[in-house]
Symmetry: C2
Subunit: 197 residues, 2 copies
DNA sequence: CATTTGATATACGACGCGTATGTAATACTC
DNA sequence: GAGTATTACATACGCGTCGTATATCAAATG
């Protein structure tokens, strides 16, 4: 009773991605060795090149996984809120907190853009951005925020949030400055409102 | 009459930095070869390692140069404006436009953070951030914007601006989306005002 | 059961970084 | 001003890594 082939291949893909997540987060993309990384997963570079093409392909797969996890989490947090405006604020705060995780920071915020280019061109299309863009579009339709380009507004919001997170994480005492960052973010976001509160 | 030593050394430093700017901008940091780069400057890796320690050191020097150029330009643009609030808006727009330059983008926005870490920990202390932080502090003192943490607000503003630029640059038709980004940035910034206009 | 497909392993070549050592010219010291 | 020390830069080497080309071996297929 041999194991079906598709199955083991998918297992291997997951093992490689998992090992890559760890290696990329700990050593950074460029310092992570593919030999070490694949050995950690009990495989060799052969499997890696067959599945992902090259090192960049592997990074793209890892980024996509993390990005979609973040988007799902942000959306879940957003939909818990009563109104749509509170939802987008909560999403933003959630991004800031998620980006405090070293894995997210190193892989998605630092190495990702440097190696893969701007998030708007990623294969995964950057789920996080998609989510906030949808939120912005709904808020514009409802007349709650100004008639801006939805993509621009989403991009600025997310950029502000993620940069805030980088700043918090690099600070001496992250738990201490995190609330300041969130407060500043919420203030900034208020600027999008058509009727400022 | 031999040339003074300090002088030729400074010349060589500048030649290396200039060559590095070009190479890093064109090929990206990791793909830029130090052998090629130094040859372009009429030197060898010996000079490079003596002057900058390692490849990262060279990147740090390049980043510092570009960053200070950007800060000077932004400040010049800011002081042309009548009141302080208009000044900071103009600075933000200036950052967006400056970040459309491939050199700035590739070196300062992408490779810089990935290789050197968060800008707040750069040796140059990131002159751009310093400039906007000062502006924010003055505006807070004047009661024009809310009583937020100046560093947080500066960081968010700059993050929004620079992310906007990345988005614009990656778009199909940059000249077309640039005004949208600037408009969105100005709206966002309004959120910092203590008395929204 | 024979054959083919394809997923993974192995072997190879090339390149780039960092360091250790060499060299020559300038800057000190008496 | 001659001898020495300093040091800016060049050269040579070793190590590690990536990407590809080839080999192997198990599973799918007829």
């Amino acid at each position: 009773m041999p194991k079906p082939r598709k199955e083991t291949m998918e297992e291997n893909r997951m093992k490689l991605i998992a090992a890559a997540r760890k290696a990329f987060a700990e050593k950074g993309y460029s310092a992570a060795s593919m030999d070490d990384l694949t050995a950690e997963a009990g495989l060799t570079r052969g499997a890696l090149y067959h599945n992902f093409g090259d090192k960049r392909g592997l990074l793209a797969a890892v980024v996509e996984q993390i990005d979609s996890e973040m988007a799902a989490r942000a959306q879940a947090i957003g939909t818990r809120e009563g109104d749509e405006w509170q939802a987008i604020l909560a999403e933003g705060a959630a991004y800031i907190e998620m980006a405090l995780d070293a894995e997210v920071q190193r892989i998605v915020l630092l190495d990702g853009p440097a190696v893969l280019g701007d998030p708007s061109k990623w294969p995964s299309q950057n789920s996080c951005l998609q989510v906030t863009k949808r939120s912005v579009e709904r808020l514009i339709a409802q007349g709650i925020i100004k008639q801006l380009d939805a993509e621009a507004a989403a991009r600025l919001l997310s950029g502000a949030a993620l940069n805030a997170a980088l700043w918090v994480a690099a600070s001496e005492n992250p738990p201490n400055v995190l609330p300041k960052a969130v407060e500043a973010f919420r203030s900034l976001a208020d600027g999008l409102l058509s009727k400022p509160s």
